[in-house]
Point group: C2
Chain length 395, copies 2
């Protein structure tokens, strides 16, 4: 094989908002009709305040066809083929943050300003549609079901089973739990158990943050993007210390689009705290329920979705863990690599050992999400980026 | 000089709780009499739940005289002399967390479950007492006034002026702002202005964390100690991005007892976000109000109180910034170096260049808090740790 298998650990898909109506249970459609114009207006306001509307408009201009791959099967195939991407993991929210499921069921999964029952309904509508999209190219698409687990663990378990039966490969759950119970709480144990049993990857994706803490001044964006990866990694701290990863040793967790640069220092800190230091002895026994160091749980149970990795991250690969990193394109978001994926990719990986590039570009994600690489081989032979372009001598 | 000037950037002092009564404004003494037994009981309960009561009891046994230096001048002088420490920066909360000022004015400065007016009263009681303690050895003691600035900026400004007039060297303000305005808010500008004008260092100290997020299971302590330094550094993120350190270029900030190991990755992240990357271009202009990179503000405006530094932190000194680190003993807390300060210190610094040890052990804190090193010289000649004990050849 002279081409790389590339699997994007971070792609997004979502219908134009009005099209979610058909996928909603009928009893929620009246509420949908009321909420839709409010959602569209709120998205516009957010673009004005936070995402700069005109920059996004510029970026979209001329790219309309490619961006319609956010929901259109044929367009999506063309884009991913041209990008050299054979497989993808699919989170919600398509073009920028416009194509979000209804009732606050999108990438931030807020716990305030929403109605739990409706958020669930919005999530299920997205999941139904996403399962259809994935069935059009099941070997290429690992779709993730949106699961607002904070509100109802029993409901979440049913949704995990439904998602498994309908070909989805994992669940996407909120990073922030607001006033609900955090992920240390034993009430979630049956949820971890079913995810482990069915091999459904538990996914967190960056995006949520306590925006009310940042005000609306010039510094707001800087604070947000400086902290957003921390809010993403926070659930992992709870999963490790509360012993969830001890009790569910085969549970697969993915933390996506928060870079991977935080990993070495994060693990050093947790391992340091795990050891019996003068600092912590006054706090009594808080480690004997864990048979391993935090970094060992990380190596066993966690994959980092390192979207659009810059060169620096590739250089940190041994510190992060060669088998813990999975490159992502973040298509169709403007901060993603599309439509310049190959040049970004070769800049990042040029001259690194072939077997290491192979892991990060595709094999790690294939193992985590259960892609059938044999089935993908003919596609890789046609669209995968040639290995020669990554050599140190390549132009 | 064959001995090092040692200044502890992190010490604590506090009266036995009942003794704060005399320092309270008379109108708050009735409330104090009601609150005191509740406070004492709550401290005991916290020790049972979180700090393990019997470990703390063991630690205190036989150390009663030394620990009485938490409030007693003579005992404190003896302890610090024996520890080789010439000068100290003094935060609230003495022995473990028992000697806390009344009405929730202690090291966590909570924003819920307290009455702002009373928290202010408790803070002022502590400040009055602390000013007296510092006046007994003004060349050795840089006391910090507790200032609950979140509730009332005008009141805070008056307190800064009072503290300056009464010989205190800085202010201690909350790390967490709860539902109040964060430190990005322009309403705090007059507060930064007066601190800058009067050369009063703005201090944050670890301790506060959203305990309600951690539950009460076995993992609670691990989560707390894994996150506590982040809650400490969070205000700095706001100060940098909101332009406070741009508008108040001589403002001195200290972040204490959160280790210093977070610094290199923190600055790399903020600098990365500061640059115009594909990731952030959709967010518009959020940097042009800042004339420098985040790491440059850090180097100019921030000192890190690195309490009881392990060797690893000393080895990271160039990445953290040689002039940004200040060793601390954390006396009289059980996680502190007392009564084994010299052996801990020599293990940490053995064989490093003398001029670098000098900065971290004392000179950096002297410069930041305005200690008069000439006045301290005779004391250093008597009690300072001999430089010979830090040589690579020392036993």
């Amino acid at each position: 094989m002279d081409r790389y298998l590339v699997i994007s650990s971070d792609c997004h898909a979502g219908l134009p908002p009005e099209q979610y109506r058909d996928y909603l249970e009928p009893k929620y459609r009246d509420a949908f009709d009321v909420a839709l114009p409010i959602q569209i207006e709120a998205t516009k306001e957010a673009a004005k305040k936070f995402l700069v509307a005109d920059i996004n408009e510029d970026w979209r201009k001329g790219a309309e066809t490619g961006l319609s791959g956010a929901w259109d099967h044929d367009a999506r195939v063309r884009v991913l083929d041209a990008d050299g991407i054979a497989g993808e993991v699919i989170f919600p929210d398509g073009v920028t943050e416009m194509n979000s499921p209804p009732f606050g069921a999108g990438i931030s999964l807020p716990t305030e300003g929403i109605v739990p029952e409706l958020q669930w309904a919005g999530a299920r509508a997205h999941n139904r549609w996403l399962a259809e999209l994935c069935q059009m190219a099941p070997e290429r698409r690992a779709g993730l079901a949106i699961v607002p687990v904070l509100w109802d663990v029993d409901e979440a378990i049913l949704e995990v089973k439904w998602a498994k039966q309908n070909g989805l490969k994992g669940v996407f759950i909120p990073c922030m739990w607001g006033k609900q119970d955090g992920y240390h709480h034993p009430k979630y144990d049956p949820f971890w158990a079913i995810c482990e049993d069915l091999g459904m990857v538990v996914n967190f994706h960056s995006g949520a943050a306590p925006m009310e803490d940042y005000g609306d001044g010039r510094g707001m964006v800087g604070m947000y993007i400086s902290e957003v990866a921390w809010w993403l990694t926070r659930p992992l701290t709870l999963l490790i210390w509360s012993g969830v990863l001890e009790r569910y040793p085969r549970l697969k967790v993915a933390l996506t689009e928060g870079t991977s640069i935080w990993v070495p220092e994060y693990l050093a800190l947790l391992d340091f705290r795990y050891e019996d230091t003068p600092y912590s002895s006054k706090l009594g026994d808080y480690t004997s329920h864990l048979s391993m160091k935090p970094s060992e749980y990380f190596a066993r149970n966690v994959l980092v979705g390192a979207s659009c990795m810059p060169r620096r991250e590739a250089e940190m690969r041994h510190e992060v863990g060669l088998k813990q990193m999975a490159w992502g394109s973040d298509y169709p978001h403007p901060e993603g690599s599309w439509p310049e994926t190959e040049s970004q990719m070769t800049t990042t990986f040029r001259g690194l050992p072939e077997d290491e590039i192979k892991l990060i570009l595709g094999q790690n994600a294939a193992d985590w999400y259960g892609f059938d690489t044999e089935k993908l081989a003919p596609l890789v032979a046609r669209v995968g980026p040639p290995k020669s372009r990554f050599s140190a001598q390549a132009p």
